[in-house]
């Protein structure tokens, strides 16, 4: 069995208010400790904002700037430029946003920052909906998933943000999962060493939002990766695709069955998702082959 080998340097504190078992907090722990002390985070409204803050307390031991929902990437750009102006060239600026602040409301700012190739590391904690405000759908919510605003299941597919970002030809884009901690840490480490715009999208199974058991978010994320629903890969310069796992080894049912947001699904509904995943997987492999 593969051992996890990242080092915890105490950059994330106990006592934060994430739900018990939340893998967004877990991912934050891995990312903060991998990036290290010389960093500033910019956080738009999101679960992360709540987890980091709660005035007068803070759970993170680096400075965090809370900004508005639509301006995460823009604020991060400004913070980075201000640091540069002060001669702090090596300080990593992290923008940590949810999928609402990335796929939907923050997309304009993100696209602009990507187009300018700002030197920031943008982390999207993708829990596929507005889970902090009661679980409404976002454009990241996948096909057939039930949310507060799509109680019968969403009838359109998840927006493919990777392809949007790839079209900007930024230096580094990656997907990551809290089930694959070594991979997540390695990607953060790699991104830290790249100048320019870096985006890492982390799959975050949301306990209340997805209807996942308190102890099962890591397992759910693992099933997401192994079933090919959420493949782990990297895109460099928008064109070079690299897979980080050995292929998909499970049917999507192994992933869906752990989540109440899919419990209304009939066999046909599962088959539709399987078919979508198979086609996306094939398309991804074609890109890997070309790269």
């Amino acid at each position: 069995m593969e051992m996890i080998d990242y080092q915890d340097d105490g950059l994330f504190n106990s006592g934060h208010v994430a739900c018990g078992g939340c893998v967004e907090a877990l991912s934050l722990r891995v990312i903060l400790n991998t990036v290290g002390k010389d960093a500033v985070a910019v956080v738009p409204p999101s679960c992360t904002a709540v987890i980091c803050g709660g005035y007068p307390m803070s759970s993170v031991n680096i400075p965090v700037f809370h900004t508005t929902l639509e301006s995460g990437a823009a604020s991060a750009s400004g913070v980075k430029r201000a640091l540069m102006a002060k001669g702090k060239h090596d300080t990593t600026v992290l923008c940590i946003a949810g999928d609402g602040g990335t796929y939907d409301i923050g997309l304009q700012a993100l696209s602009s920052a990507a187009e300018r190739n700002e030197d920031i590391l943008y982390i999207c904690f993708d829990n596929e909906g507005y889970m902090n405000t009661g679980g409404q759908k976002s454009s990241s919510t996948p096909l057939n998933a039930a949310t507060g605003s799509t109680p019968g299941g969403k009838d359109t597919r998840k927006k493919n943000l990777i392809e949007i970002l790839a079209a900007h030809r930024i230096p580094y884009i990656a997907t990551a999962s809290p089930s694959h901690v070594n991979d997540l840490a390695a990607k953060v480490e790699k991104a830290k060493g790249i100048r320019g715009m870096k985006v890492i999208i982390v799959l975050i199974p949301c306990l209340p939002g997805w209807g996942v058991a308190d102890n099962a978010a890591v397992k759910t994320a693992r099933m997401g990766v192994e079933s090919g629903v959420f493949p782990l890969f990297e895109v460099e310069d928008g064109v070079t695709y690299t897979m980080n796992t050995d292929g998909k080894s499970r049917p999507v049912g192994d992933y869906l069955s752990l989540q109440k947001r899919y419990r209304h699904l009939t066999d046909d509904g599962v088959a539709a998702i399987q078919s979508e995943v198979d086609q996306d997987w094939q398309r991804l492999q074609q890109r890997v082959a070309v790269g």
């Binding site: 069995m1 006592g15 208010v17 078992g21 893998v23 877990l26 007068p56 901690v181 308190d214 102890n215």
Partner: protein, 547 residues
């Protein structure tokens, strides 16, 4: 009112907030017994030594094995391995090949000449061990390790008991047996061969001379098959047959042999006879799927062209020309609640005959307990003892086949160990019993099986069937080194922490502290989510309701 306004930024770490109050259940590290340990007749710490094999600490693995059993090379060959039947890995793919790993370690210990450490302190008290079979040798070993003086009395001219006289060399090579016995004797045992303790007076004399006595003379009297005339030259008792052939004596029985019985000894007789060029039929009361022998023994016997006639009994035997005719009938066999207890119901009209030249009944053995009348209770099939293996006479203990109907070599080894502990307690060592009170055995669902990809069991090759019948060389072979390592990797280490740090690293609340030799839950912060438990690959941490 303060003249200083509060700053705009946060200034207090969140760790002042005690999120532990959210919790309704708490993870706890408890070393729970693995299913293999629960099933092991010698209480072997299997999960521990297999992990030592994984880490290539072979000597450490051997020492762990030898804590409970001085015969890993022997047990690795012939144990009925209930550990494997209990193994949690069977619910993922196949059980771990524990027995073949044990043999791997045991053989390495012999090849490397590893010896047992002499006891730290020698004690003056002495114990007489009567019977040099697995139970007696195990007790002698455990007593010597504790510093007691041991005198071992064996009625035959060599030690080993059933291991030497009952188990054929193709299952247990004599050099292995000799090697593992010698290692015990090297601890300093006063051995008396050809020393029968034939009556109560002889036993009393030994009891007077020593501080305690351990009786382990086994079950050496063959059960008699009703209606069979044992005085006929074509009848030979199975124990006599095995003792003679194991000693290399020539077999004078005719060409066609019928072995009556379906247990391990019957398989040993049948396969030995095949190696002596005989045609062999096994006739058993039990249907094939209920034969008391281990399945692998039956399979290997079938490979060696032993014919099985199951679910039938012999009613009479008589001369027929140069040979014999056995009159048999099919029966309905109904197993009872206990091993060895059953009912049979002959099926009318199902009579048939078998032709043969000789019959070897192999239907089990009884203990000879009447010779010590007045010292031990002799009303049962075995010597009566308390749970401390002490007989009616204080200071006289008994074990192995003499005192139990659990007729397996490793059961006897385990009983020898337990008796040694009890004898030490009787003499006054203050030693504690080795017990696992009220502990739940780690269930499969406690294992995070996602960490274990499907890997087929590594099975050592058997020798070719064709070559087997030409000699008594061992049939089952040793695992190759690389296969042994790969097989050890398959072990879940149930209930045995492997210090992988998963619990520590997967905690979203930093509520686990790493200690030098384990982990501790910070109850101030643990929210009780159970992620550490879900991601523990060994089931070493579990959730418990608090209070």
């Amino acid at each position: 009112m303060s003249s200083q306004p509060s700053p705009l930024w946060t200034h207090t770490p969140s760790s002042v907030r005690m999120t532990g109050t959210w919790r309704s259940a708490s993870p706890d590290y408890r070393t729970l017994p693995s299913p293999c340990l629960g099933a092991c007749p010698v209480d072997g710490r299997i999960a521990v030594w297999v992990r030592q094999v994984k880490e290539k600490d072979y000597r450490g693995a051997w020492l762990t094995l030898a804590d409970n059993n001085p015969f890993p090379a022997i047990a690795g060959r012939i144990c009925h391995h209930p550990c494997e039947s209990a193994c949690n890995r069977q619910y993922l793919d196949e059980t771990v090949g524990i027995c073949s790993l044990e043999r791997f370690v045991g053989d390495m210990a012999l090849a490397e000449g590893w010896a047992f450490d002499k006891p730290d302190t020698e004690r003056s008290e002495s114990v007489a061990v009567i019977g040099g079979g697995p139970a007696g040798l195990s007790a002698a070993y455990q007593l010597r390790r504790r510093g007691y003086q041991v005198s071992l009395y064996e009625s035959k001219d060599q030690l080993g008991g059933l291991l030497r006289y009952g188990i054929p060399a193709y299952r247990l090579e004599k050099a292995i047996l000799d090697g593992e016995i010698q290692r015990i004797l090297d601890l300093g045992v006063d051995v008396h061969l050809n020393a029968e303790v034939g009556d109560a007076d002889a036993l009393k004399a030994l009891h007077d001379k020593h501080d305690a006595v351990y009786l382990a003379t086994g079950a050496s009297r063959s059960k008699a098959l009703p209606g069979l005339d044992y005085s006929q030259p074509w009848v030979m008792d199975s124990a006599d047959f095995l003792a003679a052939t194991n000693a290399g004596e020539e077999c004078t029985l005719g060409k066609r042999i019928v072995v009556i019985g379906g247990g391990s000894a019957a398989m040993d007789v049948a396969r030995t006879a095949r190696r002596l060029g005989r045609e062999v039929t096994v006739l058993s009361l039990e249907p094939e799927d209920q034969l008391p022998a281990q399945r692998v023994e039956v399979d290997e016997a079938m490979e060696e062209d032993v014919t099985f006639v199951t679910g039938a009994m012999m009613q009479s035997a008589g001369a027929n020309g140069d040979g014999l005719v056995l009159n048999c009938i099919k029966v309905n066999f109904q197993a009872g609640e206990k091993r060895g207890v059953f009912t049979i119901d002959p099926i009318d009209g199902s009579e048939f005959t078998l032709s043969a030249d000789a019959v070897i009944p192999s239907i089990g053995q009884d203990a000879d307990i009447t010779r010590w009348q007045g010292v031990v209770a002799d009303d049962g099939p075995v010597v009566g003892t308390g749970s401390d293996w002490q007989t009616a006479t204080p200071g006289v203990f008994a074990g192995g086949d003499l005192a139990s109907m659990d007729r397996f070599v490793t059961q006897a080894i385990g009983m020898g160990k337990q008796a040694a502990v009890e004898i030490a307690r009787y003499i006054g060592s203050g030693e504690d019993r080795d017990t696992f009170p009220e502990l739940t055995i780690v269930p499969y669902k406690a294992i995070s099986s996602d960490y274990y990809p499907d890997v087929a069991r590594h099975v050592p090759a058997n020798t070719d069937v064709a070559g087997r019948l030409e000699n008594f060389n061992e049939v089952q072979q040793r695992l190759e080194h690389t296969d042994a390592l790969a097989e050890a990797e398959r072990c879940f280490s149930c209930g045995t922490c492997i210090f992988c740090d998963n619990c520590y690293l997967y905690c979203p609340d930093m509520a686990i502290t790493k200690l030098e030799n384990g982990y501790e839950v910070k109850s101030d912060y643990c929210k009780g989510c159970g992620l550490c438990v879900a991601e523990c690959p060994t089931g070493s941490v579990m959730m418990y309701e608090e209070g």
